[in-house]
C-alpha cells in the first residue's frame, strides 16, 4: 500500500477507535447519572426502583407539613390528585415551599414507602409550576375524567 495512504488509514482507524471509546464512556456515564421523574401515583404503585436516585414531584398536601421541634427534620406529603406519598427531608426548605404548592424533589424511595429527599425545589414565582408536575397532574386528572387542571389550587385533597 502507498505509505501516504497507509498513514491516512492509520489515522482514520485511530480516530474511529478513540472516538467510539469516548462516546461509549460518555453514554455509559450519562445512563448512570440519569434521574427519572415519577409522579406520586407511580411511587405508590411499586413500579419505581427503590434506593436509587430519582426525581418526584407533586403538590404539598395542606396540613401535612410537620417540623421536628429540635432539629431541621421535616415530614410532608405530596399528591398528584390520585395518590399521596410521604416525604422526609432534613435541611432548609426553599423560600417558595408552601402547603398547597408544587414541588420537585430529588432523592430515594425506600421500602417503607417514604421518599427520602436530598433536595427540595419549589417554583420560582407564584405563576409558575414545574412542567413535570403540571403534566403529571393533567394526565392523572384526564384519566379520572376530571377537567384539565392547571395549578395546585384546584386539586381536591380528600382522595
Amino acid at each position: 500500500m502507498h505509505p501516504v495512504r497507509k498513514q491516512r488509514l492509520f489515522l482514520i482507524g485511530f480516530v474511529l477507535v478513540f472516538s467510539s471509546l469516548a462516546i461509549g464512556l460518555i453514554v455509559f456515564s450519562l445512563r448512570e447519572n440519569l434521574n427519572l421523574f415519577y409522579p406520586p401515583q407511580q411511587l405508590v404503585s411499586g413500579s419505581v426502583p427503590l434506593d436509587r436516585d430519582i426525581r418526584a414531584g407533586g403538590c404539598v398536601v395542606p396540613g401535612s407539613v410537620s417540623r421536628d421541634q429540635t432539629s431541621l427534620k421535616v415530614l410532608f406529603r405530596i399528591t398528584d390528585g390520585v395518590a399521596e406519598v410521604g416525604v422526609s427531608y432534613q435541611g432548609i426548605l426553599p423560600d417558595l415551599f408552601a402547603e398547597g404548592e408544587a414541588v420537585v424533589i430529588n432523592g430515594q424511595l425506600h421500602s417503607d414507602g417514604i421518599f427520602e429527599a436530598k433536595e427540595v425545589l419549589a417554583k420560582h414565582d407564584e405563576n409558575y409550576m414545574p412542567p413535570e408536575v403540571a403534566e403529571a397532574i393533567a394526565e392523572e386528572s384526564q384519566q379520572q375524567g376530571v377537567e384539565h387542571q392547571k395549578t395546585c389550587g384546584v386539586i381536591s385533597y380528600d382522595s
Partner: protein
C-alpha cells in the same frame, strides 16, 4: 405616544436591516461599488432606530406607563429608579430588545472599524450581520413586541419585577452576557463572508481575531457575573449547578475559547483553515441554541420567561436556518481549501490543536448532558434530568489535562520546538510546582487531600511556566525594562488570561474541597462554631424596605475571640405577589467568605439558618476577571490597530512576533 414611536422605530430598523442584508450583498456579486458602500450607513441607521426604540421602552418604565403590557408585568411604581431601568431587560420581550440592540451595536462597530478592508468583504460581513438582525427583529416584532398596549383598561399598578432580579448583579449580568453571545455573530459574519467570497486565505482570521477576543472577554465576565449572582442571591452559596441554563451560556464559551486559539494558528501559520471556519459557525450556533433553550421555555428555570410554543418554534426555525444554511455553504466551499504547511511534534500548532480537541470534547459532553433530557422527553423515554456527577466526571479530568498543556504551550514555537530546549526550560517550573503541590495541602486542617495537591500543582505549574517564559524572552535583552517594553501586548494578555485560569482553578478546587456548610436551627442568643469561626445570632428584628418587609438577623462572627464581622442576613417578603427572598449576609475576603443565610421561621421563635465558611471562593470570579481584562486588552495590540492596516496580508508573509531569539 412614546411606545408607538418605539414600535415604529423598530419597524424602521427592520426595514433598514432588510436592505442591509440584500443591497450590499448583491452589489458585491455584480461589482456595484455604490450598492456595497451603502452597508455602513445602513448599519448605522439600523442601530440608531433600535437605540431609539430602547430609549422609548426605558422611558415607559421610568414614567410607570402601565398601559404598556410589558411594563405592567415587569415593573411597579414602588421600584427604585435603577431597578425600573434594569427591568427593561427583566422579561422576555425586553431582553430580546436588548439582544437586538447589542447586535446592532456590534454591527455598527464593525462598520466603523472596517474601512481598511476590501469593499466586497466589508459589504458581505455587514450584510450577514444584517441578516441576523432581520431574524431577531422580526422575532421581536411578530412574536414578542415589548410595546403592546393594554388599552383600554390599563392597570393602575404594575405587578412588579421578579424580586430575584432586583439586584445589582442583574443590572449588569444580562448586558455582559449578551455582549458575549452576540459578539460571536461578528466572527460568524466574517466566516460566512469568507465562505461566500470563496477566497479562503487567512486574512479573515486576522480581521476577526480582535472581535472574537472581545466577545469572548464579555462572555467570560458575563458568565462569572451570573455565577456570582447565583452565589449570593439564588443558590444559597452555590456558584455553579450545571443547570441547563448555565450550560447554555457555557457552551458558546467553550467553543469560543477553542475558536480564539484556532484563529491564532490560522492567522499565523495558515493551517486549520477549514476547521476554524467551522468553529466560528458552531460558536455562534451555540449562542443561538442557548437563546433557544433559555427563551423557548423548554427548560424550566428562572431564565425561562416565555412558555409560548410559537416563540420557541420561531427561534428553532431560525436556528435551523442559520446552522443549515451556513453548513451547506461550508460544504460547498471548503473542499477548495488546501493547507500545505506541516508541523511536527512539540510545535505550538500541536499544543493549540490539543487545546481545540480537548475543548470540543468537553463541549460535546456538556451538550449531550444538556440536550439529553429534552431528547428523551421528545421521544417519550420519560422525564429525567442529568445530575452534576455526570458533568464533573468529564469536565474535571479533561480540564485538568488542558491546564497542564496550557502551561507548556506558550513556551513552544511554531513549526518545531527542540525537545531538549523545551524540557530544560520546564525543569524548574515542574520541580517547583511539584514541591508546592505536595506541601500546600499540609497547611489545611483535616486529612490530606490529594485533589488539593493536584490542583495546586497544576495552578503553580501554569504560573511558574509563565515566569520561565518571561525569563527566556528577556534573557538576551540589555535590561529587563527594555526587554519588557519590546514584548507585544498580546504576550502579556495571553499570560494574564492563563493566569486567570490558574486562579479560577484554585478557587474552584479549594471551595469544593474545603467548604464548610452547616444547616442548623438557631434561636436569638444561640451560637455555633464552623471551621474555627464562632457565629452568634444576637437578635432578630423587622424592618421595612421600599417595596418589601424583612426579617433581619444580627449575626456576630468572631474568630479566636476577635470580632470578624457583623452579618445582617434578611428574609424579605415583597408586597407585590408576596414573593419571599433570601438575602444572604456575606463577609467577603480574598481567602475566605463567611456566609449566613436565613432559612424559614420555625416554631417558638427559632430560625433555620445556613452557615458557611467558603475558602478562596472569590478566586473563581477573580480569575474570570483576569481573563476578561486580558481579552479586552488584546484589542489594543499593535498588530490589530484597526487604522492604517494594509488590507489582506497573507499569513505566510507575516513573521512570528513572539518567537524566542
Amino acid at each position: 405616544m412614546i411606545p408607538e414611536l418605539g414600535h415604529f422605530a423598530l419597524v424602521l430598523s427592520l426595514g433598514l436591516s432588510l436592505l442591509l442584508s440584500v443591497l450590499p450583498l448583491s452589489g458585491s456579486f455584480n461589482g456595484r461599488a455604490l450598492w456595497m458602500s451603502t452597508a455602513p450607513s445602513l448599519a448605522t441607521g439600523s442601530f440608531v432606530f433600535v437605540a431609539l426604540a430602547f430609549v422609548c421602552l426605558s422611558y415607559s418604565f421610568a414614567i410607570d406607563d402601565f398601559s404598556v403590557a410589558y411594563v405592567a408585568s415587569n415593573s411597579n411604581s414602588l421600584l427604585p429608579w435603577y431597578y425600573k431601568l434594569s427591568a427593561v431587560w427583566g422579561g422576555h420581550e425586553g431582553s430580546l430588545l436588548l439582544w437586538v440592540l447589542i447586535l446592532t451595536v456590534w454591527t455598527w462597530a464593525v462598520a466603523l472599524k472596517s474601512a481598511h478592508m476590501p469593499i466586497e468583504m466589508r459589504a458581505r460581513v455587514l450584510a450577514v450581520m444584517g441578516m441576523v438582525a432581520v431574524g431577531f427583529l422580526s422575532f421581536t416584532l411578530f412574536t414578542s413586541n415589548p410595546f403592546d398596549r393594554l388599552l383600554p383598561g390599563a392597570p393602575v399598578e404594575g405587578s412588579d419585577l421578579n424580586p430575584l432580579l432586583q439586584d445589582f448583579g442583574l443590572i449588569i449580568h444580562p448586558p455582559m452576557l449578551y455582549m458575549g453571545y452576540v459578539g460571536f455573530s461578528v466572527s460568524f459574519a466574517f466566516a460566512i463572508a469568507t465562505l461566500i467570497s470563496g477566497r479562503l486565505d487567512s486574512a479573515w482570521a486576522r480581521w476577526s481575531r480582535p472581535w472574537t477576543n472581545l466577545a469572548w472577554a464579555f462572555l467570560t465576565v458575563g458568565i462569572a457575573l451570573g455565577s456570582w449572582w447565583a452565589y449570593y442571591e439564588l443558590g444559597w452559596g452555590g456558584w455553579w449547578f450545571w443547570d441547563p441554563v448555565e450550560n447554555a451560556s457555557f457552551m458558546p464559551w467553550l467553543a469560543g475559547t477553542a475558536l480564539m486559539h484556532s484563529l491564532a494558528v490560522t492567522e499565523k501559520r495558515g493551517v486549520f483553515k477549514s476547521w476554524t471556519l467551522l468553529l466560528a459557525i458552531f460558536t455562534f450556533s451555540l449562542s443561538l441554541l442557548g437563546t433557544f433553550l433559555v427563551r423557548s421555555g423548554v427548560l424550566t428555570s428562572v431564565h425561562a420567561f416565555a412558555t409560548d410554543p410559537e416563540r420557541g418554534l420561531f427561534i428553532l426555525a431560525f436556528l435551523l436556518l442559520v446552522v443549515g444554511g451556513s453548513l451547506t455553504l461550508y460544504a460547498l466551499r471548503v473542499p477548495a481549501v488546501r493547507s500545505s504547511v506541516s508541523f511536527l511534534g512539540f510545535s505550538r500548532e500541536w499544543f493549540l490543536l490539543s487545546n481545540n480537541v480537548l475543548l470540543v470534547v468537553v463541549l460535546f459532553t456538556v451538550l449531550l448532558g444538556t440536550l439529553y433530557p429534552l431528547i428523551a422527553d421528545a421521544l417519550g423515554w420519560g422525564k429525567l434530568s442529568v445530575g452534576p456527577p455526570y458533568f464533573n466526571r468529564f469536565f474535571i479530568p479533561l480540564m485538568g489535562i488542558l491546564c497542564v498543556l496550557l502551561a507548556v504551550g506558550p513556551l513552544t514555537q511554531y513549526k518545531r520546538t527542540p525537545a531538549a530546549k523545551l524540557l530544560s526550560n520546564l525543569r524548574w517550573p515542574f520541580v517547583g510546582a511539584l514541591l508546592l503541590g505536595v506541601v500546600t495541602p499540609l497547611a489545611a486542617d483535616g486529612p490530606y487531600l490529594w485533589q488539593a495537591s493536584v490542583a495546586v500543582f497544576i495552578a503553580s505549574w501554569i504560573v511558574f511556566a509563565a515566569v520561565q517564559d518571561l525569563r527566556t524572552k528577556l534573557r538576551h535583552r540589555a535590561s529587563w525594562r527594555e526587554g519588557l517594553s519590546k514584548l507585544p501586548l498580546s504576550f502579556f494578555c495571553m499570560h494574564l488570561a492563563h493566569l486567570g485560569m490558574a486562579v479560577t482553578l484554585i478557587g474552584v478546587s479549594f471551595v469544593s474541597l474545603f467548604n464548610e456548610a452547616r444547616d442548623v436551627r438557631l434561636s436569638p442568643g444561640k451560637s455555633l462554631d464552623v471551621a474555627g469561626y464562632h457565629f452568634e445570632l444576637v437578635e432578630m428584628r423587622k424592618l421595612r424596605g421600599p417595596n418589601y418587609l424583612a426579617d433581619e438577623g444580627l449575626v456576630v462572627v468572631t474568630y479566636g475571640g476577635e470580632e470578624v464581622a457583623v452579618l445582617l442576613p434578611q428574609k424579605r417578603r415583597y408586597f407585590s405577589g408576596g414573593n419571599l427572598m433570601t438575602e444572604a449576609g456575606i463577609d467577603a475576603g480574598l481567602f475566605r467568605d463567611v456566609f449566613v443565610a436565613l432559612g424559614e421561621p420555625l416554631d417558638n421563635g427559632d430560625w433555620a439558618v445556613r452557615v458557611q465558611v467558603k475558602p478562596f471562593v472569590r478566586w473563581i470570579w477573580l480569575g474570570a476577571l483576569f481573563m476578561g481584562i486580558a481579552g479586552l486588552l488584546t484589542v489594543w495590540d499593535k498588530r490589530y490597530r484597526f487604522v492604517t492596516r494594509k488590507a489582506a496580508i497573507s499569513a505566510e508573509a507575516q513573521e512570528v512576533p513572539v518567537a524566542a531569539p
